[in-house]
Symmetry: C2
Subunit: 517 residues, 2 copies
């Protein structure tokens, strides 16, 4: 029906239009039904308020709606009845405590992907789809529906291994080490990492300094076929709806567990993962601040894995300080390669990388995985595999850690007293590294000269800040002065040399023969 | 800090501003912190996106934010750090599956009332506060916090009775009858009803045709002291935050049970109710379409009552057709007064009114409540009490049903065949009555000449439409033709003469003596 647009002074965040009741009767539209409005701009959808007193022939709408329709007050628009999307009914059902089936969840995911739902509606869904109101079958349906919004990869071989860290540990640079170790034992591991979101350096940020990380599906498949593993960066080819969900969550500062698990697992489903190791860092800067929440997370994701047919083990790991000494893209690249070259380095990195690689090897049927992983690392086989993968990703096959440049502008921060390093505050370290330019300035970052438990004398260098420019160095120094990144105490704190706090095996060992045939 | 506003083309429904990192350091503001921005208009709150590449001295914001601040691009604004409201942290906790305490719930309700939360944030809270993610203690805290946003009434006497229907039954006009019966037995019943939201006539819409329903607290208290009961209209004096919650729910078409219960009970807490009867109509047009959901609702609200110290009984009632014959303000007023006058009328109204009044009498300690209620109604005592209450509400103390005018324009709808009335569709009846002008035209509405189970001959009048004007009558006729309000069938359907399907007594009888002293 052709109607004339009139400006309303109603202020609502959702699109609402007021229509005369007789006009509604003619269009077959009821109060709270939806209409589609076509002007010269976008076709917009709005909720109808019927009014006997509204003038016939008018559609009363907000300035925002007029703008979206590309019309001004007095212009003519076409208004037609629009059925309520099934997704809205499904979201209502979830808010009312109902259990959604596969088709209902697919309708929601499909409409998020098609941008048929507002951010408000998506947020309402996320809020209702919480840990007490979504069962594991619903999370599995959600995972599959999210995976179906993008490409899926068929590597043509099984099993396909992967590992994933829930994050929150600065300097966690073990990915290329783990991939190189297990790929040199013949495991298939198409590892896709990510760039930093709120941290100072994601795995893809530092790998990007020495080889390509952006790979399309064809490049990924051929690299995996050649070398067994990759250090790629996840992209919008796989489960792209995840980004739209994150966009709705971000302003509220939320990432509820069922949604987080579905986001993670949808990428794994897309890449064809059959065996997954999940690293659950335990610490006050991570998603699981205590052992109970870590175990509960492990239980939930292993159940989800069972429904998805993915064999999942979990390892709860220490996250009480940065891993290794380097934070920032080039610094982390250098330290990572040093580990592979067998150079002297923080034993925590070797312990965590070999523990994780060892679990993956045991998931593939090997015995004494950690010892085997250490042997592979020390033998130089992992380093050879690393260089092979770097080459498939167009990096220098003769890459050496000493060739990695770091920031020219540096500042040492010294201890003001004798004692022991009592704590390192991850949040402060990340904030200082970011102030120094990381991750967008790849030269920026921090090198920790001491870790928790080290004996310190007054005047010792605690950490060194690196920056690309003098002004960014100044900024980082100012940030360091406004915080307390490290504390020196009188008594030596007790520390562990084991990075894995608890290993949580899979619920049932799947028949590997089935995958291998 | 003074900054210059710059227009951004970012489109987000939530307020976000982009700031330079150095400016943020100076203000002590981090990524995703909030700032308050003061221009020449409103002080607005926004979420900060920190950016190293943003120009120092600028605050980049959307046109909507510029407008709200009352500034244009290039103008100077004052930007200061704003702590994250506790309410946001509480909403996040609820979304993450946590249990909220009293103070946390009070922070959310307080910030909704103070309009410190966006509709999106309120909606996220409502969605997360669903039946599987909110326990009854949280609902009780919410109820009390909502009640605390408005006035509370102290009638100075106890017990204080009330009854409440969950609605969805057209023509449910029993309120003045029930109040009059129980008030004539000496019960205190400050009944506050509501106007129609989506129906053709709320209790206050028809009571308003013969006496005042808008009463301030002083008038309410004095009327209750004088007559024992009132037929007032609920207003924004009591638990006003409820309206803001409904405003956030409405566009999503939701009213989840925990929120609905808190909204209802917050008004009862505000008025000082000690004994409440809840009418749970059962039918496909009501909130409880099956007996299991009705029982589950009864269980939940009785538990809530226990925590709030309110003695609650529930009655599940028939809602398979309109109650009585009249739908629409004047028609319902006339029928209601006829019942009190002892005139011949639909026995279902007498049965439901006396059953409900009887339960209230039994809650007050009387025996054989329904029989006693019938006796009071038939003796004319209820009618006398009704006229007394009408007088305290400035109505005509000699009010008679035959003096109530109805719509001049009428149209009879006839049966096209012989048989029995097989069904009456509540939704269609309401839609036709609304098309005829109800409730804003008090003359508009419908009179049902036959009810489910009646024998019908071809040509019999099934129902009569009343309207104030010929054009509204035409509109209602058109609406009736496009629907199927009544069905005539060959075999007589089985009907019940009992309006109460199931009575669900309170969990424990409170010591009435305690209240009466």
């Amino acid at each position: 029906m052709k109607l004339t647009a009139r400006l309303s002074d109603i202020k609502t965040s959702e699109p609402i239009v007021v229509l005369n009741v007789d006009d509604c009767l003619k269009m077959g539209v009821d109060h709270t039904d939806r209409v589609r409005i076509t002007g010269s701009g976008s076709v917009v959808s709005a909720v109808v308020i019927t009014d006997y007193d509204a003038t016939r022939g008018l559609v009363v709408m907000s300035q925002t709606l007029l703008d979206r329709c590309g019309v001004k007050a007095g212009d003519e628009v076409e208004v037609v009845y629009s059925p309520l999307p099934e997704s809205i009914l499904s979201i209502r059902k979830k808010i009312n405590g109902g259990t959604l089936g596969r088709a209902e969840i697919e309708s929601v995911v499909g409409d998020i992907m098609a941008e048929n739902l507002s951010e408000k509606e998506i947020l309402a869904f996320i809020s209702a789809f919480n840990v007490n109101n979504a069962n594991i079958a619903e999370v599995a349906f959600l995972t599959r529906a999210m995976a179906a919004t993008g490409k899926t990869v068929d590597l043509g071989v099984k099993p396909v291994f992967d590992f994933h860290s829930l994050g929150g540990v600065p300097g966690n640079k073990i990915t290329p080490v783990v991939v190189s170790i297990v790929a040199s034992e013949g495991l298939i591991i198409p590892k896709m990492s990510s760039r930093a979101i709120s941290s100072a350096c994601g795995t893809s940020d530092f790998v990007d300094t020495f080889c390509d990380v952006e790979m399309d599906t064809d490049a990924l498949v051929s690299a995996v076929r050649e070398a067994g593993g990759v250090f790629a960066c996840g992209n919008e080819d796989y489960a792209p709806v995840g980004s739209l969900i994150i966009k709705a969550e971000r302003p509220m500062g939320i990432d509820p567990r069922p949604m987080m698990m579905a986001s993670i697992m949808s990428k794994k489903v897309a890449i064809g993962t059959t065996h997954l190791l999940v690293d659950i860092p335990l610490g006050k800067t991570t998603k699981t601040p205590d052992i109970e929440s870590a175990r509960s997370y492990a239980e939930a994701i292993r159940n989800l894995g069972t429904l998805l047919g993915i064999h999942i083990e979990c390892a709860v790991t220490r996250a009480d300080q940065p891993l290794g000494r380097a934070i920032g893209p080039l610094l982390e690249a250098r330290e990572c390669i040093e580990v592979l070259e067998g150079k002297d380095c923080d034993p925590d990195i070797v312990d965590k990388a070999c523990s994780m690689a060892g679990i993956l090897l045991e998931m593939a049927g090997e015995k004494d995985g950690k010892a085997r992983a250490l042997e592979i690392l020390r033998s130089g086989k992992a380093h050879q595999k690393f260089l092979q993968i770097v080459k498939t990703q167009n990096g220098d096959p003769d890459l050496r850690s000493e060739d990695i440049p770091v920031g020219l502008f540096t500042k040492d921060v010294h201890a003001k007293r004798n004692g022991y390093v009592g704590f390192i505050d991850n949040h402060s370290i990340v904030a200082i590294a970011k102030a120094a330019g990381a991750p967008s300035d790849i030269e920026g970052g921090i090198e920790m000269m001491h870790k928790v438990g080290d004996k310190i004398n007054e005047g010792d260098v605690l950490f060194r800040i690196y920056a690309k420019t003098a002004s960014k160095l100044d900024r980082a120094i100012a940030s360091a002065r406004s915080r307390r990144p490290m504390g020196v105490v009188d008594d030596q704190p007790i520390t562990s040399d084991q990075m894995i706090i608890e290993r949580i095996p899979s619920k049932e060992m799947l028949d590997l023969i089935r995958f291998r045939n």
